[in-house]
């Protein structure tokens, strides 16, 4: 179990400057919504340690992960942040099982192979999948990426548009896996209203690098006059 995640800081990537002050308590499942270029993926990259803050602090419990003023930066391999990337980033040169076993192996978990098989079956794939990664369907690849992220038992789980290619029948099962995951904090970047309704108990709307709304689904749907309200629509 980890403590509350506090992020207060600023980072510029390309033409986008993300400037936020956010806290995530253990147990929260948060949907991050907003138009393209709002800074959703950048926010995820900051938390995962794939981009460093220019200014400010990222703190988890009483541990500082990123604090440029004191040259503190915890490298991504030490953060236990699981990520399902929008472009999946599966390792094509490894088997499906080896993709999922990759995390457990490098984190020194016991018996990575059987952990991998268990997770592959949980996302509804075959543990003895003989096909190489490029031959899997879009939905299968997405579920494999989820299995890979979950298998390393992350403290924080970041999902960037995770269910776009998953077909409707398996979507509920995959959502259930996310809901049951051991991660203390889960963030789902999504354009899908149903993802928000099924998973999240809190919605954060971003626009041009800033938070425009933050609250329960009903609060954001009622209070925000921008993207989030349009996306969530009427909740009656």
């Amino acid at each position: 179990m980890i403590g509350t995640l506090h992020l207060e800081g600023e980072v510029t990537v390309g033409t986008l400057t993300l400037e936020v002050a956010l806290s995530f308590a253990p147990g929260e499942v948060v949907a991050i919504v907003g138009p393209n270029g709002a800074g959703k993926t950048t926010l995820a990259r900051v938390i995962a340690g794939l981009v460093g803050l220019d200014r400010g602090t990222l703190r988890v419990g009483d541990e500082r992960w990123d604090h440029p003023a004191d040259a503190i930066f915890l490298r991504p391999e030490h953060r236990r942040v699981g990520v399902v990337f929008q472009d999946l980033r599966l390792f094509d040169h490894l088997s499906a099982t080896e993709n999922v076993a990759f995390g457990p192996r490098h984190l020194g978990l016991e018996d990575p192979q059987s952990i991998a098989c268990r997770w592959i079956e949980r996302v509804g794939l075959r543990a003895d999948e003989p096909r190489p990664i490029p031959e899997l369907s879009g939905g299968e690849r997405q579920r494999l990426a989820l299995a890979r992220a979950l298998a390393s038992e992350p403290n924080i789980l970041l999902l960037d548009e995770p269910f776009a290619a998953v077909d409707a029948e398996t979507r509920d099962g995959v959502r259930a896996l996310v809901a049951q995951s051991s991660a203390a904090v889960t963030m789902v970047i999504t354009h899908d209203r149903d993802d928000v309704l099924a998973l999240a108990d809190r919605v954060i709307a971003l626009d041009r690098g800033r938070v425009t709304a933050d609250g329960t689904i009903h609060e954001v749907a009622a209070g925000d006059r921008g993207f989030a309200a349009r996306m969530l629509g009427s909740l009656q």
Binding site: R75, P76, E77, D87, R89
Partner: protein
Amino acid sequence: MTGSFRSARLTNTHRAPRPWWIVAPAVIAIALLALPIVALLWRTPWSSLVDLLSTNLAFDALRVSLVVSLVAAGLCLVLGLPLAWTLARLRGWTRRIVRSIVLLPMVLPPVVAGTALLFALGPRQSLIGPTLERIGIVVPFTTAGAVLAATVVALPFFVLAVEAAMEENADGLEAAAATLGASPGAIFRRITLPRARSSILAGVVLAWARALGEFGATLTFAGNVPGRTQTLPLATFLSLEAGDPDQALALSVVLLLVSLGVLIGLRDRWLLR
């Protein structure tokens, strides 16, 4: 309605015409490249080829060439891979400087590379040659010197072949591996290296071919000692100079066959475009 198009010249293919003033120089260029090879094959004394390649000169040169070029290719792999990885991670002016140093031997006349090596490691008036000699290491005019000369000229070819594959974040796989707990060393071993396999193989073959053909730097720095530094290209030139064109042709055919082998080996990369 279609009348207005009648005057247009119609052909039964979709191919655009090829102006003769572009095609003619292209044909001349192909002839320029192919003619010497045809001449070489035409003049080669095929019936006595086996005898010509069984002489001491040919045998020694073949042996020295194989040893020198294989060890040089190995050195290119062992030194060049970390170099390419490091180079791909440099930014700004350090990257430009290191890159210039790495690529210079590719455009530098090999005889200059040999001369430079001589003043770095040579017996007299060199940078570190006398120091090496004091601890019992003599490089110039030895097989080791020939290996060094070949490595210097071949290394840029290897680095260039693998540099792109060592680049980080081309597809974000390194970042994904890092979030899964892999250290930079583990990422190199399990992601970067296996994915660069075909580039590495091509780089080794390319470096080996360049090392095998080395002439100027070897002659300048390692000399022309039969059985020790006299490689196939040196023996070929020496045979010509000594008025033995048949011997030179026989050795040339060996090098030509090896070169064809390299091309066939790299066909997936270069020929089937």
